[in-house]
Subunit: 371 residues, 2 copies
C-alpha cells in the first residue's frame, strides 16, 4: 500500500493558501499529484492507550475507510504486548514516550492521534509535528490557550495538519442541528441550554489531578456543551459569567466538580450551560428559536443521540463518531483541504474555558479573549 | 351565610404568635371561637379584572370549596356591567380604585385578591389591609423588596393575613417534586435547570411598561423558575450571577426581554435558569440529584403539568391551580394558621430578583440580601 507520507516532501515544498493559514499547516495540499492519492489508507499512530483508545478509538479505526492502525505509543510495557497481539502491530511500530520522536522515520505512520492526559497534548502534538506527522489531538486541545497557540504554530511551521477530536462535529444529528439553526428553520436562535456531566469513578485517576488534567468537569465534558453552543450560533461568545460549587472537597480537591455558566453571543443569543463530575443524567442541548426548538437528548454520548424539534422527531441513524472523525481528517489530508475541527477551533474553546475559570475566580462577567 | 369577617374584631384584639410573626398578620387566629367557623365560605373581592381574573381566577373561584366571589374592583366601567351580569355581583359590591377603601364596611368581603399590574400591588395590598381585609396578592409581590417589606408591615399592623399568588405551590406535581427532593429520594440535589418564557403579544400592554410592571420577563415568568429552585432546595440563593440580552430594543425598550442567571445555594446545589418574553417553548424544571433526576416539562402552565423521574413517569392528576391556592388561603384564614406562600416568600423572591438585576447592571456575582 502506497502511503501518503511518501509524498511528505511535496507538502513541505509549496506555497501557503491564505484560506488555510489560520491554524492549519498547508503546504502543497491542492496540488494535483497529491489528489491522486485520495483512495489510500492513512496509517495512524495512537498515542496513549487508555480507556478511550481501547474501547472507542481502536474499534473505530477498524470501521474507517481511510485509516488503519499503524503504530502505538504507550508508557506501559504490558500494553505493548496486548495491543501487538490484538491488532498485529509489529515491534518496529511500537514506541514509548521517550522513543516517540523516532516515529519521524516510520513511513507507515501518516498521522498521530494524541489520546493522552490533557497536559501532554501540547508536548506530543508538537513532537508529532516536528516528526513530520499530521496530528489529531483529543479535546480539550490543551491546558491553556497559550499551549494551543504553540501547537498551532508548531504544526504550521512543520506544514502538518492539525485537527481536534471533536467527534460530535461528525455526528449526523449534531450536523442537522447546526444546519437547522444556520438555515433559521426555527427562526433566530434566542436561547440555548446545554449540559453534560457524569459521576466520575476512581478517585485516583488522572482526570482528577490538576497537573495532568488542567481542570475538571468543564475541561473534560463541559467542553461539549460549549462546542454545541458555538456550533449552533456559528459565533464566539463575547461575554461569559460562571459559578462553581464543590460538594466533595476531597475528591475534587484539585479540579472543578460542578460549574454553571452563561454566554452571550453578538447576535443576541444567550446560552446557559452546566457541567459536573458528580451526578449522572445531564447530557443534552436545546436551542430555542423564535419559531420553535431543536433538541438533542441524549446529546453527547458515544452513541444513541436522539433528536427532536418542535415539529417532529428526527432519526438520522447512528454512526461511529470516532470513525467519522478519523475518516474526515484522513480525507482532509488526502484531499488537501482544511479540517473544520482545526487547531483554531480548539483554541477558541480554550479561550472560552479560560474566561469561565476567570469569571469564577474574579466573580464577574468576563469578555472572552480574541483568537 | 355567616361570614368570618363578622369576627374581625376578634382578630384585632389578641396577642401575636411568635411563630407567625414573620410576614403574617396573626391576631387571635388560634382561639377556639374562630376555629368554629371553619366551614364557612369566604367572600373574595377581586381587584383588577384583566385576563388573569377573567380567564383563570373567576372560573377558579366557582370551583373552590371555601371561597366565593363577593365583590369586584375595576377601573373600567364597562367591566362592571359584564361582571355584574355574569357573576351576579350587586352594585353595592362593585368598587373602582378611588372608592376601594369603602370596602372596609363591606362585610361580605373577607379577603381581597390583588390582580393588578405589579406596580399597584403595594398600594392595594396596604389599602386592603387597612380596610381590615386579608390579602392574596398576585406575583411578583411588588416592584421592589422595600415595597414588599412595607406590605408585610401593613398587614402585620392591621393583623390581617397576607399570601402571594404562587399557584404552583398548590400543584400536585410541584408538591411531589419538592417532597422527593426534601426526602432525598434521588440523593442530594446537585443541580437544577429551570426556565420559563413565552413570546409576548400586544406591544402596548402594561407588562412592557416599566412603571407598571417593574421589570419584564424575569418579574413575570422567570419568577416561576426562581420559585421552583427555592422550593426544591428549601434554601435561599447565596450568590447570583446573571446576563441579559435584548434582540428587539423597541418592543423591550423599558423591560427585560431575555435573562439567564445562576444561583448558588449554601448546601452546594447550583441552579442555572432562564426566562424570556421573546420565544415560546421554554417551560420546565429539572432537578439532578446524586442518584437520579426529577423533571417537570411542561412545568409552569395553568394546566397539563407533566412529571418524570429517572425511575418513572408520575401522573398525579390535574387541579385548578388558582382554586387550590384560593382554598388554601381560605383555610389558613379559617383555621388561623399561616400561609406557606407568605409575604416573606414574596419578599425572598424579590430579593433574588433584585440581585439578578444588580448582577446584570454591575456585571458581577452578587450576594443576595437577607430578609
Amino acid at each position: 500500500m502506497q502511503r501518503l507520507n511518501a509524498n511528505r516532501r511535496e507538502f513541505l515544498s509549496t506555497t501557503t493558501s491564505a484560506a488555510l493559514a489560520a491554524g492549519l499547516a498547508t503546504g502543497g495540499f491542492f496540488s494535483e499529484t497529491a489528489r491522486a492519492s485520495s483512495n489510500r489508507k492513512l496509517g495512524v499512530a495512537l498515542v496513549g492507550l487508555g480507556n478511550l483508545s481501547t474501547n472507542q478509538i481502536a474499534p473505530a479505526l477498524a470501521k474507517t475507510k481511510h485509516c488503519q492502525l499503524a503504530a502505538i505509543v504507550t508508557g506501559t510495557p504490558a500494553k505493548e504486548k496486548t495491543w501487538s497481539e490484538k491488532y498485529g502491530v509489529k515491534q518496529d511500530h511500537i514506541y514509548n514516550y521517550e522513543r516517540f520522536d523516532k516515529i519521524a522515520s516510520d513511513d507507515t505512520v501518516d498521522l498521530v492521534y494524541v489520546v493522552l492526559p490533557n497536559s501532554m497534548h501540547h508536548e506530543f502534538t508538537i513532537r508529532a509535528a516536528k516528526a513530520g506527522k499530521h496530528v489529531l489531538c483529543e479535546k480539550p486541545m490543551a491546558n491553556t490557550s497559550q499551549e494551543c497557540r504553540e501547537m498551532i504554530a508548531a504544526c504550521q511551521a512543520a506544514q502538518r495538519m492539525l485537527a481536534i477530536g471533536y467527534r460530535c462535529q461528525f455526528e449526523p444529528h449534531h450536523l442537522k442541528m447546526m444546519e437547522l439553526a444556520k438555515g433559521k428553520s426555527f427562526g433566530d436562535i434566542r436561547m440555548i441550554e446545554a449540559g453534560f456531566g457524569f459521576k466520575i469513578g476512581d478517585p485516583t485517576q488522572w482526570r482528577l489531578k490538576r497537573e495532568l488534567a488542567g481542570g475538571g468537569a468543564l475541561m473534560d465534558v463541559g467542553i461539549y456543551a460549549l462546542q454545541a453552543c458555538r456550533g449552533i450560533t456559528g459565533e464566539e461568545p463575547i461575554a461569559i459569567t460562571a459559578q462553581e460549587t464543590k460538594t466533595d472537597a476531597k475528591k475534587f480537591a484539585e479540579v472543578d466538580e460542578s460549574i454553571t455558566w452563561l454566554m452571550q453571543f453578538a447576535s443576541g443569543t444567550q446560552a446557559y450551560c452546566s457541567t459536573s463530575y458528580n451526578f449522572n443524567g445531564l447530557n443534552r442541548v436545546q436551542a430555542f428559536g423564535s419559531d420553535g426548538y431543536i433538541k438533542l437528548d441524549p446529546a453527547f454520548s458515544y452513541s444513541g443521540i436522539r433528536m427532536e424539534t418542535s415539529k417532529e422527531k428526527i432519526d438520522l441513524g447512528q454512526v461511529d463518531h470516532f470513525a467519522a472523525e478519523l475518516d474526515d481528517f484522513a480525507q482532509c489530508i488526502l484531499e488537501k483541504r482544511p479540517s473544520k475541527v482545526s487547531g483554531e477551533e480548539g483554541l477558541k474553546d480554550l479561550l472560552a474555558i479560560e474566561a469561565i475559570y476567570r469569571s469564577i475566580d474574579q466573580r464577574k462577567t468576563i469578555a472572552v479573549d480574541k483568537v
